[in-house]
């Protein structure tokens, strides 16, 4: 069976959930192999193996962390040329897409971004995309070169399929050109202990309707009650009720969680573009005419300041009655 190469990403030393989802997709298309740009320690190899990787390519070098994107492109292109995979899967996010884009030019290969599904088909993997702000669904294939497909987080649930991967260290001599953009300073944003917005199964977001930075904390408490990530509309981040990294929308993050709760968010098209792929959408807003209600599966017209505390309490009641909540404990 042909190899399918997954570009695995790590956050704080742990393999990202979205990368494990790529391994699950890779299993549909061939033998999954993972590329780790950084030390492939035992824990990393083990989790990649748990989710199906039969091989782990490991490329090391300080350059990978110190320089923006390009050393990883060198690494990906080197491994593709060495192993000739049937396809390359990356996570559709800023870094994944840029690495994939430059690799696509070097390999003269077609690239498909923002895929929400990938299935085997005649002529190569068939990618499904949700386009035009969710109005259309398109199916595409790469017709030249090694198909490079960038897949959205939460496209599939990561499925364990244990293997003992062979670890293949790959020596890459980074070109001078790879050292063009140097990261001179990094300020880590304090970890909130909550799931990453891009990967989370539950997202609780707040908008201008929350009214104040203090009231915005209700959004955070509701997220914690559900084990979810916190998100925000552009307005809320402009008002500095939370950091920019929480912004969901056309110019922020695009998320597609199982559950999205929009609180005090009117639902302008630029915001909807960032969350309309969510499986279940719930909205709480005091304006019955808010556009968000045209896309919500359950809408509550009410005051977020009374609804959210009451909802947190109701969730507490149901959880203690019903046992383990459905939203917890899937991929590590």
């Amino acid at each position: 069976m042909a190899e399918v190469l997954v570009l695995a990403e790590q956050t704080d030393g742990a393999v990202r959930k979205a990368s494990l989802e790529l391994l699950t997709l890779a299993r549909r298309l061939g033998e999954p192999a993972a590329l780790v740009c950084g030390p492939a320690d035992d824990a990393t190899v083990r989790v990649l193996g748990t989710y199906g990787a039969t091989k782990v390519y490991a490329v090391e070098g300080a350059e990978l962390d110190d320089y923006l994107v390009l050393p990883k492109v060198d690494a990906l292109v080197a491994v593709v040329r060495q192993s000739a995979p049937a396809a390359v899967l990356v996570t559709s996010g800023p870094e994944g897409k840029e690495i994939a884009a430059r690799a696509a030019v070097r390999l003269d290969s077609g690239i498909i971004t923002d895929a929400v599904d990938v299935t085997p088909a005649d002529g190569g993997p068939l990618a499904t995309q949700s386009v035009f702000s969710g109005a259309f669904s398109a199916q595409s294939q790469v017709v030249r070169g090694t198909p490079i497909i960038a897949v959205r987080p939460n496209a599939v649930a990561a499925q364990p399929a244990p293997e003992q991967p062979a670890v293949v260290p790959v020596m890459v001599a980074f070109s001078d050109a790879a050292l063009g953009a140097r990261i001179t300073r990094r300020t880590a944003r304090t970890s909130s202990g909550r799931p990453d917005l891009a990967d989370a199964r539950v997202v609780v977001a707040g908008g201008r309707g929350m009214g104040s930075a203090e009231a915005f904390q209700l959004v955070e408490r509701l997220a914690d009650a559900l084990g979810g990530a916190v998100g925000a509309s552009r307005a809320a981040t402009d008002l500095e009720w939370c950091g920019r990294g929480y912004q969901i929308g056309q110019t922020g993050q695009t998320v597609a969680p199982t559950l999205y709760i929009a609180n005090g968010i009117s639902g302008a098209i630029q915001h909807r573009a960032g969350m309309q792929g969510s499986r279940v959408i719930v909205a709480v807003n005091k304006d019955p005419k808010a556009p968000i209600f045209s896309v919500s599966d359950f809408g509550l017209v009410g005051d977020v300041h009374t609804v959210l505390p009451a909802l947190i309490e109701e969730i507490g009641k149901r959880k203690s009655g019903a046992g383990t909540p459905a939203g917890s404990g899937e991929a590590p």
């Binding site: 971004t113 790469v142 990094r186 539950v202 110019t251 279940v280 719930v282 009410g302």
Partner: protein, 259 residues
């Protein structure tokens, strides 16, 4: 210093978008505008010039006839001149071809700094800036929330996953900017009229030395096999809170097995 700003003319966000028969985005039947995200790049170029950077600013777009409207909007916001690459053979081009054509045009114009928006608002791929940088053989500093140029060094602040990075490169380079950079200015009537007088050159593929067969749908490395309108998300239940709203919502979550 020469700054080239890449812009795209795209359908209005509120218009009804659809596919033409050949699975390309139907641009003919919708109102268009300069992509909102490109306005930030246009603004940053003007801000750099106003801060005293001695630079000429050229806007560049690739597209059908109407695309020139995007250039005129940019020229109303600032800049010196513009180039419109227009050729019927470009219809149906993919990102690889787009980046090839833009890179050749940028080389013909001459550049120290290429500025772009973080993504187009129609295809939304976010790959063209990286591809253009690859073809030009220069570094890319993308998703910049802040941008400064001093001498031949460009420094950006970018929000990456979990951290804020300061990234430095020596020009020439490609920089893409987000909406975190300053608000795009609203041109005055006088500026709009001045923009209309600035020169716009129209180049064909032949002017760039690109063979017609190297562009368009026939040269694309990807193909759309099918497209269908997704059923619009129907508005679901809407309940007015009269004290029991939170309980009703919690019941809904339980019923959906989300709780």
């Amino acid at each position: 210093m020469k700054i080239v700003v890449l812009v795209k003319h795209v359908p209005e966000a509120t218009a009804a978008w659809g596919y033409a028969e050949d699975f390309t985005l139907d641009r003919a039947n919708v109102e268009g505008r300069l992509s909102e995200l490109d306005e930030y790049a246009v603004e940053q170029a003007t801000v750099l010039a106003e801060k005293g950077l001695p630079a000429t600013i050229t806007y560049l777009t690739m597209g059908p006839a109407k695309a020139v409207d995007g250039l005129r909007k940019a020229l109303a916001m600032g800049g010196d001149d513009a180039v419109h690459v227009q050729d019927s053979s470009l219809h149906g081009s993919d990102a690889l071809t787009t980046s090839l054509v833009l890179a050749k045009a940028i080389e013909r114009i001459g550049f120290d700094l290429v500025l772009c928006g973080m993504a187009s608002t129609d295809a939304d791929m976010s790959v063209v800036p990286a591809m253009v940088a690859e073809r030009l053989g220069v570094p890319q500093l993308t998703f910049a929330a802040n941008l400064t140029v001093a001498g031949s060094a460009v420094t950006v602040l970018r929000e990456a996953d979990g951290e804020t990075q300061t990234v430095v490169a020596t020009l020439p380079a490609v920089v893409s900017v987000t909406d975190q950079t300053s608000e795009a200015r609203y041109p005055s009537f006088k500026a709009i009229m001045a923009g209309k007088r600035k020169p716009v050159a129209t180049w064909s593929l032949a002017d760039l030395g690109v063979a017609p067969g190297a562009a368009g749908a026939g040269a694309a490395a990807t193909a759309v096999r099918g497209a269908a309108r997704r059923p619009a998300r129907q508005a679901g239940t809407v309940v007015v809170d009269k004290g029991e709203g939170a309980a009703a919502l919690a019941d809904f979550l339980v019923a959906q097995k989300l709780l």
